[in-house]
């Protein structure tokens, strides 16, 4: 597997893992019990901070998908199904004759007009 793919997969994993951990921690912190006022204050702020980082991680996941799409669009080479038709001499000859006919059409009519 390519280094880039591994990096992206790892990034997805860590992001998801962090989202889950932080979400879980929000619930843990939500318990009041007999904590001191200071601790409670800090905890409620931590909850908010965790929520913000969950949002940020989700946004990061979105940017990973964007990255993937971009890589797919720009990095892939299209293989055309059309086979080389021009290689056949017969076909080539046909076009050649058609082209000559076109040239004739242009040139021929002059003779009638001008002479």
């Amino acid at each position: 597997m390519q280094q880039k793919s591994i990096a992206i997969l790892q990034r997805i994993d860590t992001n998801v893992e962090q989202v889950l951990t932080k979400f879980q921690r929000i619930f843990e912190l939500a318990v009041v019990e007999d904590k001191s006022k200071e601790l409670l204050a800090v905890e409620s702020l931590t909850m908010e901070a965790d929520a913000l980082s969950i949002i940020r991680l989700c946004e990061d996941l979105l940017s990973i998908t964007r990255n993937l799409k971009e890589t797919w669009c720009l990095g892939s080479i299209k293989v055309s199904d059309n086979k080389e038709q021009w290689k056949l001499k017969k076909e080539l000859r046909k076009v050649y004759e058609q082209f000559n006919k076109l040239t004739d059409n242009i040139a021929e009519f002059e003779t009638k007009q001008t002479v």
Partner: protein
């Protein structure tokens, strides 16, 4: 603030009351005295005999007043004190005539205290000034710097002290019983607030993310549409661009046909924006022009339009606007490319009745005019069904429409031929020669077009001339044949479909004559052209044979004439002379 000058005359207190730290001025050595005088008087210039006498007199008066119990005010003396401090009750100088030891002691003590306090105040003031300066320095560096002491300035970095306002927590001093209950209640409130805030944040973020996902989806769908249309995408900075030009197909036109796919901020809708240069994203603002071919003929001594090529492109084959826009840009880029090379080529043909007037290339061929024009594309106008402005005026006006189309197709095909040639150069090993070729190649479009038309005319002219010659000598000849072989250069197919137009046309007319002496003569007239394609070049070869079998086998022939001429008259003369000689 009032300043009061005090003078202390120590002599009146006697020697034993002397402060150990105060120096007896009368006992000072000259080395000590001079600096002291300097300190007091600053300069010796101001010290004159009279002034000193005055001073002494004044001092004597003052001492006599002191003894009367009146506080003294002596101008010009050294001790300067703040009136706030001195004005207090704590200094009781000469409150009474009785100069007791305790009073003097108190005075001395107070005086020492005063000196100490003054020093302390000074110290404190400068300390607080430093503090304030340092505090200010974090906000206004220059102001702080100018008032800070050098020591502080040297040792403490500016702005290292800051301040904030602390509000005293209300109700902090509750009794312990209530405290726990309050704390948990307050804590619950906080957590509740936090949870509500988190919910709000999540809701907002989810709406935002959903919108973003939709936008992204739309954007990539559109990109995919473009990609599915076999377009070449590239990344430039954060945007995705599309290369719709013919550069990779072999075009050397300066406009490479680059565009960026701009996405709408809110919807993610992709719009196609051609750019002139990738460096600064300058949007190319071009008027689309298409090429129109017109034929005019001389009818009743006046040139009239007898044919016009049509333009029926609508650019709405796809249901996606971006693809249609792209197709349109590509189509007109090709037209622009073609017209650019047409005008360049036309310049070289000015000697052959080709002229360029603004957006028109005009060919004059006898009674016919071919006009190639770049016409601005007007969407509205072109969408109208009937654009027969020129057509159907009379029966002549559309008789060459088909030919105009053919010419247009021919021009386009020839540009493709040039692309193909460039591409083949690109695929070759890059050497100086191929590079030179790349830089010096020009498309063959108008030259073969005009050349082929001319060639047909020349063939007719020369055929007619030879026919006339035969007619002239008909009676003196036993046998005469004339065989026209058009475009002999095309007899072998080289594999290049454009052979007809990239090779010089060559046609041959072979005349065989038999005179009354039963001798044979073969006149081989080869009509061709030079690299400009337009002028004619005639290679004339005349060979004599003694018998028919020799003629057929091309055996033992005598070359009579072999020359290249550029004029029909010369051909005629040469032939006339040769035949005359042959029959005579």
């Amino acid at each position: 603030m009032n300043k009061i000058r005090l003078s202390l005359d120590l002599e009146i207190y006697g020697d034993d009351t002397r402060d150990a730290f105060l120096l007896d001025e009368d006992k000072l050595t000259i080395e000590e005295l001079i600096p002291r005088i300097l300190l007091e008087r600053k300069l010796f210039i101001d010290v004159t005999e009279e002034s000193l006498l005055d001073e002494i007199k004044a001092a004597a008066e003052a001492s006599s007043q002191m003894s009367d119990g009146i506080p003294i005010v002596v101008p010009g003396d050294s001790l300067v004190c703040n009136s706030d401090i001195v004005g207090g009750d704590n200094i009781d100088i000469g409150g009474s005539n009785g100069s007791t030891a305790t009073k003097i002691d108190t005075f001395n003590k107070n005086r020492a205290d005063l000196a100490k306090n003054v020093a302390l105040a000074l110290n404190e003031t400068s300390l607080s000034l430093d503090f304030v300066s340092l505090l200010i320095a974090s906000v206004k560096q220059n102001i702080g710097k100018s008032t800070m002491s050098p020591h502080l300035l040297k040792n403490i970095p500016l702005g290292s002290l800051s301040s904030d306002k602390l509000t005293k927590e209300e109700g902090a001093s509750g009794n312990d019983g209530n405290k726990d209950g309050n704390t948990s209640k307050v804590g619950q409130g906080w957590k509740y607030e936090a949870v509500i805030k988190i919910t709000k944040l999540f809701k907002e973020a989810s709406v935002k993310l959903k919108q973003q996902v939709e936008k992204e989806e739309h954007y990539w769908k559109m990109i995919n549409v473009v990609l599915a249309d076999d377009e070449v995408l590239f990344k430039h900075g954060k945007t995705i661009g599309v290369k719709f030009g013919y550069g990779d197909a072999g075009s050397i036109y300066h406009d490479k046909g680059l565009a960026i796919l701009r996405s709408d901020e809110t919807t993610g809708h992709v719009t196609f924006t051609p750019v002139a240069s990738l460096l600064n994203f300058r949007v190319a603002n071009k008027t689309y022009k298409y090429i129109q071919v017109k034929i005019l003929n001389k009818i009743d001594e006046e040139f009239m339009v007898t044919g016009i090529s049509s333009f029926k492109k609508t650019f709405n084959s796809s249901r996606f606007q971006v693809v249609n826009d792209l197709e349109k840009a590509r189509y007109f880029l090709f037209e622009e490319d073609l017209f650019y090379f047409l005008t360049r080529e036309a310049k070289t043909l000015i000697n052959y009745n080709v002229s360029i007037i603004s957006n028109k290339i005009i060919f004059e061929i006898k009674d016919e005019i071919i006009e190639i024009e770049a016409v601005p594309f007007d969407e509205y106008y072109n969408n109208m069904d009937d654009i027969d402005l020129y057509q159907n005026i009379n029966s002549y006006s559309s008789m060459h429409n088909e030919k105009c189309e053919s010419i247009l197709n021919y021009l386009k095909t020839m540009l493709c031929c040039f692309y193909k040639y460039n591409l083949s150069l690109k695929q070759k090993m890059p050497t100086l020669f191929t590079k030179w070729k790349q830089q010096n190649s020009h498309p063959l479009i108008l030259r073969p077009l005009l050349g082929n038309i001319r060639h047909e005319i020349y063939i007719t002219v020369i055929k007619k001339m030879l026919d006339e010659l035969l007619l002239e000598f008909k009676d003196q000849l036993l046998e005469a044949t004339l065989k026209l072989d058009k475009l002999t250069n095309l007899k072998t197919f080289t594999g290049n479909i454009f052979q007809r137009s990239i090779q010089k046309p060559v046609s041959e007319i072979v005349m065989t004559l038999k005179n009354k002496q039963e001798k044979w003569m073969k006149i081989h007239t080869e009509l061709t052209t030079n690299e400009i394609f337009v002028p004619y070049v005639i290679n004339l070869t005349i060979v004599k044979y003694s018998s028919e079998s020799d003629l057929n086998q091309d055996f033992e022939g005598t070359n009579c004439l072999q020359l290249t001429v550029n004029s029909f008259e010369d051909v005629k003369e040469s032939l006339q002379w040769s035949i005359l000689d042959f029959v005579g």
